[in-house]
Amino acid sequence: MSQNFDYRQLIDDYLSGNISVQNKAVVEHKIATDPEFRSEFDLQKNVINAIRESRRLELKNRLDNIHVHWYHSIPQSWKIAASVSVATLTTISAFI
């Protein structure tokens, strides 16, 4: 039982990138030689990928809900140019 738990922890550490070089070799050896370990490893890989994908989708959804008005992200110089031309037009129309 405790050995079982250690292997689960090792797989978790391996897949989250928090593993020592030595333990990495242990995991890779087990993958190559123990089919049961390998299928648990593959399953955990899917689980962790799915967690990551959930977060990615969540962040994407967050960005999708931000309404970007075109005016927000145009360069400052354009805004100045635009307000100048509006001012010019107003001046011109005052004369007409």
Binding site: A50, I51, S54, R56, R62, I66, V68
Partner: protein
């Protein structure tokens, strides 16, 4: 906001930095895709993905910024759009191989696992996402979720992961999934 301030926010896991970047460079980045034969929807999609890649890299702590954030995001957009164009041209040539088939199988599995993730409570979902995607330390997770200490976060993470594993395994019989 200066680049250094944005990076500091990201390292704290503050997503508002992402919102800020999104608005700031929206036009510049979507224009890149649109002027390279992309639609507006494709442009938005690529830009959002690029920002998330940037977030992931910045979160990993391995990012060495040698240029402005905007330059960096621009190059990610460019790469992602190039890949997407390649994928499209491959699809039109109808190339198929085993690798893609295996990917589909894995994708289907992960889709089902994501349903299990959605069955977890919000706190469990947050902890697992912060740990496995954002690479947050237990200390930062405890801070962000308002736990008294790191041990509470650790115990919670362990329990949430166990609960998820049980949910996933309950969806499959041994013969379906384990061999």
């Amino acid at each position: 906001m200066k680049d250094s301030e944005i990076l500091a926010k990201i390292s704290k896991g503050d997503e508002s930095a992402l919102d800020y970047l999104y608005k700031k460079y929206y036009r510049m980045m979507t224009k890149l895709v649109i002027s390279n034969s992309g639609t507006e929807d494709e442009a938005r999609d690529v830009y959002q993905d690029a920002l998330i890649v940037f977030w992931e890299k910045a979160r990993s702590g391995k990012l060495v910024m040698t240029s402005k954030i905007s330059t960096f995001i621009y190059s990610i957009c460019l790469n992602l759009w190039r890949k997407e164009l390649e994928r499209k041209s491959r699809l039109s040539n109808e190339e198929k191989d085993d690798v893609e088939y295996q990917d589909l199988e894995s994708e289907e599995r992960e889709r089902i696992i994501r349903e299990c993730i959605n069955e977890l409570g919000d706190t469990c979902r947050r902890i697992l996402m912060y740990y496995y995607f954002d690479g947050m330390s237990m200390n930062d997770i405890a801070d962000k979720l308002g736990y008294a200490n790191t041990d509470t976060a650790k115990t919670k993470k362990y329990k949430c992961k166990k609960r998820l594993d049980e949910l996933v395994k309950s969806k499959y019989t041994a013969s379906d999934f384990m061999d």
